[in-house]
Symmetry: C2
Subunit: 208 residues, 2 copies
């Protein structure tokens, strides 16, 4: 999961001129959920969003207080485009969790934010709608968060994939190999970090 | 270099209630320059910002047209906080290029954007000032760009660092080794991608 966190003076969401929600001082969080995300990523993100020290303390000391310390608000908006893989200059979003899965997943994140902080301090957009998100970025201060089990660097993925293939080859030569295993159409790495690499496209992320 | 690119309906910058600049439809680009960045990163970023297909074509087909195709504007704002390394919940910005170096570097990026597109279509904030950046994110559509020579995944950096150390060890056993080389206080990897890992802090990025 990726999150772009902007420290804001105000932020709001509207859908076709209709205001949906707004906050005063706090954080606007754009949240990109990937195919690989699990509850572990949710726990990490919720903890980081609420505890990151992005605000001054009462003496003006920077990077001292969290959104909870300051009793500020959070506006959270789902943003699948953060799971973008570039194919040349065209964005590809196959790494994003599909909407039918990501909507309950996203609602779970909101619930978790609300129960960890205070329900009334967590605002939301309108999932899947075409929105205008008004952000008054204060500073500006923008932080990118990546949860620990997010897909890794493409080069590393390619390397892991090769290692996996080598292992598969060695196993297929070994004595314990069964014919059924060998016939498997497409071996997938067991490591959750490696699995997205098996599907190929990620390696084009840093293409020029 | 990292860039957070938001597709906008409008965007503007003000410093202490004074408007500095504004654009209509286009892209708001928050740009985080790292210690490692070179002209290669500038070339990559400028090319991607101007050519990324984030807009619809005349038939409403999504992800078809670039900001240049549409003759839209770009508001570019320097954002060192994107080069954040988390130490627990506290952001650390030692990976960011220091202001005295990053200001000419950033101006070079603006120049490059202006000469590649049209000077009047590229707007700017006020480098180093405390700004309010008003962003009307349209969609929302937010893309993170990382230039190819940006620091890699911490795990990979640690791995490369170990490989480098192993190489140094082997070299120190070899016949062509000179005493001076062996006495070097801190071997640094030659690969520009690996060098930031040698300085340690990056490995805490994914700390929980």
């Amino acid at each position: 999961m990726k999150a772009i966190i902007q420290r804001v003076t105000t932020a709001s969401v509207s859908v076709g001129e209709v205001p949906i929600s707004s906050i005063g001082r706090g954080l606007c969080v754009l949240l990109g959920i990937s195919m690989e995300d699990t509850q572990k990523d949710v726990d990490y993100m919720v903890r980081k969003i609420l505890n990151l020290r992005l605000f001054d303390d009462e003496n003006g000391r920077a990077w001292s207080k969290s959104v909870m310390d300051k009793e500020y608000e959070v506006l959270c908006v789902s943003q699948f485009t953060l799971q973008c893989i570039l194919k040349g200059n065209k964005p590809d979003f196959h790494a994003a969790m599909p909407a039918e899965l990501s909507q309950p997943f996203y609602n779970n994140i909101l619930e978790h934010l609300r129960s960890t902080y205070k329900p009334e301090m967590i605002k939301d957009g309108q999932f899947g709608a075409y929105m205008q998100v008004h952000i008054q970025n204060d500073g500006p201060v923008t932080i990118e968060l990546v949860s620990p089990s997010a897909p890794m660097d493409p080069k590393q993925l390619a390397k892991q994939e090769k290692q996996q293939q080598r292992k598969e080859k060695q196993r297929s030569k070994g004595p314990s190999e069964s014919g059924r295993e060998r016939a498997a159409p497409r071996p997938r790495a067991q490591d959750p970090n490696a699995s997205s690499g098996a599907d190929g496209d990620v390696s084009s992320e840093r293409e020029t």
